[in-house]
Amino acid sequence: MMKPVHTNFMELCFNARSENESFARVAVAAFLSQLDPTIEDLTDIKTVVSEAVTNSVIHGYEENPEGVILIRTEIEGTKICVQITDYGLGIEDVTEARQPLYTSKPELERSGMGFTIMENFMDEVMIHSKLGEGTTIQLVKQLTPQSQQSLVN
């Protein structure tokens, strides 16, 4: 008999302050803990959440702490989806922004590797952005077979 697929979600809202980055990472990872991932899986996801939140703080809102960041996390079986939204400046050229090493803020010693890291750690990275309106990053990952297996046990 097939078990029904487990679904669940959470939403998070906070100001664009660097001290909230760590909170956001922990909140997303704690939520995903119910799927019984490996610590490695969780570390990947936390890194990716950090990159996206940091982008919203630094690029989206240019460190204006009034800015609001939304995170929605969904679980569907062993597939996870994390969506990070800001209502900041937006990205003019998404294809250019995705290039490894590209950064619009070289003066801040940014590495330009944020999107590359996201693409490496997640299965899908979708960027929706509009100049002056904001940016949503949608990240999808299927948990590794190992953690899938241990879910069944």
Binding site: V26, S33, D36, T38, I39
Partner: protein, 77 residues
């Protein structure tokens, strides 16, 4: 964790940041032991069960090992 908490409770000055670091070290040790015993990477729940805490608490504790929780501590340690 029970013993750690009891120990810490005797001294109200102990900061969360410090006790979380101790827990994070315990998580690391337990993960290594379990990896050897199971011959594979243990899952979060397996580690949590071994230590006797909730999986979510592991996530929280690990954050403490990543960076100082507060600037005060950076200055202080």
């Amino acid at each position: 964790i029970g013993e750690i908490q009891r120990f810490l409770r005797d001294d109200g000055m102990v900061k969360v940041s410090r006790s979380l670091k101790e827990l994070a070290n315990k998580v690391r040790k337990t993960k290594d032991e379990l990896s050897k015993r199971l011959n594979r990477i243990p899952t979060l729940h397996e580690i949590a069960k071994e230590i006797g805490i909730e999986p979510e608490e592991i996530v929280f504790a690990q954050e403490a090992n990543r960076a100082p929780t507060s600037i005060h501590e950076t200055v202080y340690e």
